[in-house]
């Protein structure tokens, strides 16, 4: 189990380096998928197959699909690589890099100093055990997370909702008044951008 753990950990680190250094956006995303699967393998090796499976289902299977979808649509080419090169000047990344290096050293020191022997036992934690923990001692965390997600859902549905009939009418009326006194050209142009209002005005 320890061999599996270290192998997948090495894969995860290398793949993540590939994400950071990769020039091609879609290739970088493939590295990110590999990295997430490697992290899932780390969970398996640690004896938490439920967390590992969820890692693949949620991150590699659903969230990354959205990422790949968006990047595929953007069709990023050589120009973006050029742009990135101009952004990544030495002055820009040196400070954060040094600070993260210090943090890495602290982390390594802690890990080396800590008593880590025998932490990988090979016991597996079943899904049932995870569930009883989540809905037992950690119930409040689950409920808070659920509320946060609900709030995000409400916001997303508010932003993504289409224009109602009344709003379309309101938008149509305001610019028509303004164009009467010859000031609201920008507003009327904006209203033409909406499908419903332009449809109605053409009638």
């Amino acid at each position: 189990m320890e061999i599996a753990f270290y192998l997948s950990a090495v894969v995860a680190v290398l793949a993540t380096l590939g994400v950071v250094t990769g020039r091609h956006p879609v290739h970088a995303l493939l590295y990110l998928i590999v990295s997430l699967i490697a992290v899932a393998m780390v969970f398996f090796a640690l004896g938490a197959p439920f967390a590992g499976a969820l890692e693949i289902i949620v991150y590699a299977g659903a969230i990354m699909v959205l990422f790949v979808f968006v990047v595929m649509m953007l069709n990023l080419g050589e120009s973006t690589a050029q742009q990135e090169r101009t952004w990544l000047r030495l002055r820009t990344w040196l400070g954060p890099a040094v600070l993260s290096g210090v943090l890495l050293l602290v982390l390594l020191a802690t890990l080396i100093g800590a008593d880590v022997d025998g932490r990988i036992h090979g016991d597996t934690l079943t899904a049932k055990a995870v569930g009883s923990l989540l809905f037992g001692p950690y119930l409040i965390v689950v409920e808070l997370a659920a509320m946060l997600l609900l709030a995000a859902l409400v916001v997303a549905s508010h932003l993504g909702r289409g224009e109602t009939q009344e709003e379309a009418r309101a938008v149509r009326q305001v610019p028509s008044k303004r164009t009467a006194d010859g000031r609201g050209r920008a507003a009327s142009e904006r209203s033409l951008g909406h499908d419903t209002s332009s449809e109605e005005s053409s009638r």
Binding site: V26, P49, F50, A53, I56, I57, A60, M72, A127, K128
Partner: protein
């Protein structure tokens, strides 16, 4: 023969089992390419391929020869790595999922206690086959197909997971063998009828079959995401689709129709019989249904199937709590 210990024998038997199941899955997929066309012919009042061999059974051989010896061409504008990777993902992720299916009491590859989740993970990874295939082809039709596939995936994956949670709650386990064992008296299709309906819809969507084949839609996208593929790479997408049909049918049987349970006949016969019925249903759906627009598919997923699965899960949970012997 001192090395032939019971342990070695167990390993050899497990290897033999996995090989047989793997070959049977691929073989069934290949056989289906011909069976489907014959059945479609039957249901649509035409002949189908009936020239090669008796009843056209040698058509598979002819098709295989054609696929294997066709020029395996990678377009110069394609992204090579992804172009080669996509069909491998398509085939491998679905074949790996056969691992969790218990075929008879003694046959089956792996007895994972997260069994069902393994299938979800593989179904999630399977999406990349279409996405990468469509993107790397460097073709607008292929990209449109991949776009539809990802939009569709996000709609069905959510309720696919939820549709099976009722079964998991009733069986008390993700393990496929325990789910089958829990159906000794009543098959889950009776108490979990809505779960069955929604998972059937999601299962068809996983395989990108009619009426969820918008990603490949021959009429408007000229085969969508695999339009640039030829030879065996295209063949892997093709066989992968049929392997998916067999997989989803086997899952439906295991989860809702009691797996190998059944009177008189031996377990393997029951399992194969039930699976065949579902495979036939898949073909019949293709023969009978037109293809809806993909935004209609998405709103069907979000507005009908998702609420249905949530209500189903809620009612199932409430009933389990009411009737549990511990009294809640």
């Amino acid at each position: 023969m001192s090395w032939w210990t019971p342990q070695v024998e167990a390993i050899a038997f497990a290897l033999f089992q996995s090989l047989v199941i793997l070959l049977a899955a691929v073989g069934a997929g290949a056989l289906l390419t011909m069976v489907e066309r014959r059945l479609l012919g039957l249901w649509q009042d035409r002949h189908g391929p009936n020239r090669v061999g008796p009843f056209g059974v040698l058509q598979i051989l002819a098709d295989m020869l054609k696929i294997l010896f066709k020029e395996d061409w990678i377009p110069p504008f394609a992204d090579r790595t992804f172009f080669v990777l996509a069909p491998a993902i398509a085939m491998a992720s679905l074949l790996l999922s056969f691992m969790i299916i218990p075929i008879t009491p003694s046959w089956g590859v792996a007895d994972l206690h997260i069994g069902l989740l393994f299938f979800f993970a593989m179904a999630g990874i399977n999406v990349y086959a279409v996405l990468f295939g469509g993107w790397s082809s460097g073709n607008k039709y292929a990209l449109l197909g991949a776009m539809r596939a990802s939009a569709q995936t996000l709609s069905y994956e959510v309720f696919m997971g939820l549709s099976l949670m009722g079964v998991v709650a009733m069986a008390g386990s993700f393990n496929m063998r325990e789910i089958v064992a829990a159906q000794e008296t009543v098959w889950f299709i009776v108490p979990q009828f809505f779960g069955f309906c929604t998972f059937l819809v999601a299962g068809i969507a996983v395989t990108h079959r009619h009426p969820f084949d918008q990603p490949e839609a021959e009429q408007e996208l000229a085969d969508g995401y695999h339009v640039e593929y030829s030879g065996m790479k295209w063949g892997m997408f093709f066989i992968g689709e049929y392997v998916g049909i067999v997989l989803v049918s086997a899952l439906l049987v295991t989860l809702f129709l009691g797996g190998w349970h059944g009177p008189w006949l031996p377990p393997i016969v029951w399992f194969l019989l039930k699976t065949t019925v579902f495979v036939g249903l898949f073909v019949l759906l293709r023969a009978a249904l037109p293809r809806p627009r993909y935004d209609a598919v998405m709103s069907f997923g979000w507005k009908i199937c998702l609420p249905l699965t949530l209500i189903n899960l809620l009612v199932t949970g409430a009933l389990i709590l009411v009737f549990s012997p511990a009294g809640g």
